[in-house]
Amino acid sequence: MTDIGFVRSEIVSARPAPNRSSGAIAWVRKNLFSTPLDTALTILGVVFLAWIIPPLYGFFFGNAVPPGGTVEQCRLENAGACWAYIAAEMEFFIYGFYPAQEFWRPNLVFALGALLLAPLLIPKVPYKRTNAVLLFVVYPVVSYILLAGGLFGLRVVPTEQWGGLLVTLIISVVGITLSFPIGVVLALGRQSQLPIIKTVCVMFIELIRAVPLITILFMASVMLPLFMPQGTTVDKFLRALVGVTLFTSAYVAEVVRGGLQAIPRGQYEAAAALGLGYWKRMGFIILPQALKHVIPGIVNNFIALFKDTSLVYIVGMRDLLEAVKTKNDSAIEWQSANTATTGYIFAAMVFWVFCFGMSRYSIFMEHRLNTGYKR
């Protein structure tokens, strides 16, 4: 028999359970109180939130004057945001000086746009090509006829009467639609083997990217009329559109160039080995891969363009920001301490919703198109 020195006579008691690594308490411990510094930061953050949230809540909801309220309520001592003012002037913020009995025309344009855009954005919906042609070729023509009038018995509405969100959306949609192909062509030109084409593209891109948009808009509004033959007048709207489009296309070109450079040389060579010509090589092999790489960058440019449309205010166009500012300064019947603040906050919320939506959509597309580059 072997010599057994120790025989346990009772069962070992269970060890204490390990610290929780899931659940609410563990989460709080890990994310809020993991170190003394962390605890201090948490306390600091909570104090900050406690300091800032009540007044913000009071301003936006608690003491705010809801739509339908009166200006007297907005003028009260501790009144918050004057939403009544926004609701009362909403038509001006959306349509500007567009004649009221013709509102159905911009409304129809908005509805058509939404109707054509939504299926294009949802990946599962078929007929993408038809949809794209409708949206980018047919829709602009129809929209222009609808908005400007003059055909089919529609009353003529000169562009000076367009305004508000309508103008912001038109400039950004046209800018986005036109600057993308121009940007792609410029990027291809910059990568070209032909020295003259390359130089022209490089000079154009670098010059535009070096100067602020506001100088381009100044140039478009002051110098474009000088450049045209005598007697021709260039619509103010068109001048701003030209400026915004040229500006954005240079930025898009740089982003697309990044994508082109990220494509391995083998892809170019393989395409050439198949006997494809330049345009087929680019259109079928290189660009589909390159553009997929740079979707976030391009969408960033479009977000920037959407925000930059507010600059057309400086060259005297009536966009959303101009509409809000005009009413803030001139609507005497709504004068109160918070009118201007509410107006700008409203405009900020509109811009924010569009920009944030675009950035979320770009993240969604990025994940979807991520065909195995990131493993």
Binding site: V46, A210, F218, I303, S310, L311, Y313, T341, A348, F356
Partner: protein
């Protein structure tokens, strides 16, 4: 190359139009011809238009008297000043607001970028909210908000809000005490400079010693002591003093002190807040670009937390951060042109705005303005190229 030649020899009947070299030349000639024609057309139209409007051209207007007021200028300015002086005033105002914006945006942006990376849920959420809100609202709208809704809504001069250190804020801007250093104060600057030079040599010496012997020298602490100690010593020994001239409320306005006009405050503040959000994202991307393996490798080498950051993580993150950071600085400088919309007399406002309207020299004024921004841009990219070349040497 050889295949092409073979193609030529074996198929002599192939149209020369299918030769890629000849095609390339034809394309380029066509593009060049269109471009030259287009430019000639524009020049012709412009000349005709200018002749029809009886306008003269040329840069001689720069030496004429401007005859308008500029609300804020660091240089002496009067109505009798010349247009080239107006240009200079605008340029300096642009640079002033750009430099101040860059300094504060960098500080705020780095803080928020690091806060966003924090493991603390509340802190990182606050940073995320800040970034997502500010980035998605147009800068011009933010400037309008700060200028028209905040600063212009301040109380009138009579009811100025009092801030600490005898400063006041009201409709006409911010009024702070003006420091008035006496003649002795020059010595303090010299002392500061000497301390900086000493620190530079100390660092070099400490590094050589570290590499030679492996012994470490507390560089940071010594530098701090040098900086504060030498400056304070010189201050006391020289007997220099700084008097403060506080703003005093008179009947209609403040007298004395340093007045920061609301346009300047709104623009500097707006640019700082806006650009900081972008810088924060840049910083976050840069720090995330350094793989976790680097932290682990530094840990396994036995480096302390501070050294790990200073010697391993930050240098690698900076290589990623600096190029986009510079382009943010450039963006801030270009965005300062939006000051024109709230009446801050910067380059676009003074030169491409008022001067252009008064002289009617549209082409000249816009060309000069664009040239200024173009040279900023070229200068920045030159510095960037130099920096990139320098950090690339560190790489293998």
């Amino acid at each position: 190359m050889t295949t092409q030649e073979m193609g030529h020899h074996s198929a002599p009947r192939m149209s020369f139009l299918n030769d890629p070299v000849i095609r390339g030349i034809i394309y380029q000639v066509v593009v060049a011809a269109i471009l030259v024609g287009f430019i000639a057309w524009i020049i012709g139209n412009t000349a005709a238009n200018l002749a029809a409007q009886n306008k003269s051209t040329g840069f001689d207007f720069l030496w004429r008297t401007a005859g308008f007021d500029i609300s804020f200028s660091l240089l002496p300015w009067s109505r009798g000043s010349y247009y080239w002086e107006a240009f200079l005033v605008g340029l300096i105002n642009t640079l002033l607001v750009a430099v101040i914006g860059i300094v504060f945006a960098t500080i705020l942006g780095f803080t928020i970028g690091i806060a966003r990376l924090s493991t603390n849920f509340i802190i990182s959420s606050l940073a995320t909210v800040y970034i997502e809100v500010i980035r998605n609202i147009p800068l011009l709208l933010q400037l309008f908000f700060w200028y028209f809704a905040v600063l212009k809504a301040m109380p009138a001069v009579r009811n100025s809000i009092e801030l600490p250190f005898e400063s006041y804020i009201n409709q006409r801007g911010i009024f702070v005490p003006k420091p008035l250093p006496d003649e002795q104060f020059g010595f303090v600057w010299v002392g500061l400079l000497l301390a900086l030079v000493a620190i530079y040599f100390l660092r070099r010496w400490a590094k050589t010693r570290l590499e030679a012997t492996g012994q470490r020298f507390p560089v940071f602490l010594t530098s701090l002591v040098l900086l504060v100690g030498v400056t304070a010593l010189v201050w006391f020994v020289s007997g220099a003093s700084v008097a403060f001239d506080p703003p005093v409320l008179e009947r209609f306005n403040f007298r004395g002190g340093l007045a920061l006009p609301p346009e300047f405050v709104a623009l500097a503040f707006g640019l700082t807040i806006y650009t900081a959000a972008f810088i924060a994202e840049t910083v976050r991307a840069g720090v995330l670009a350094v793989s976790h393996g680097q932290t682990e490798a530094a840990q396994s080498l036995g480096l302390k937390e501070g050294d790990r950051l200073r010697l391993v993580i930050v240098p690698q993150a900076m290589r990623v951060i600096v190029p986009p950071l510079t382009s943010q600085y450039l963006n801030l400088t270009k965005n300062s042109s939006l000051g024109a919309a709230i009446g801050y007399p910067e380059l676009v406002n003074v030169f491409a705005g008022t001067s252009l309207n008064q002289t009617g020299r549209a082409i000249e004024c816009i060309a000069i303005t664009m040239m200024v921004y173009l040279s900023f841009s070229l200068l920045t990219s030159a510095i960037m190229n130099w920096y990139n070349a320098r950090v690339r040497l560190v790489e293998r």
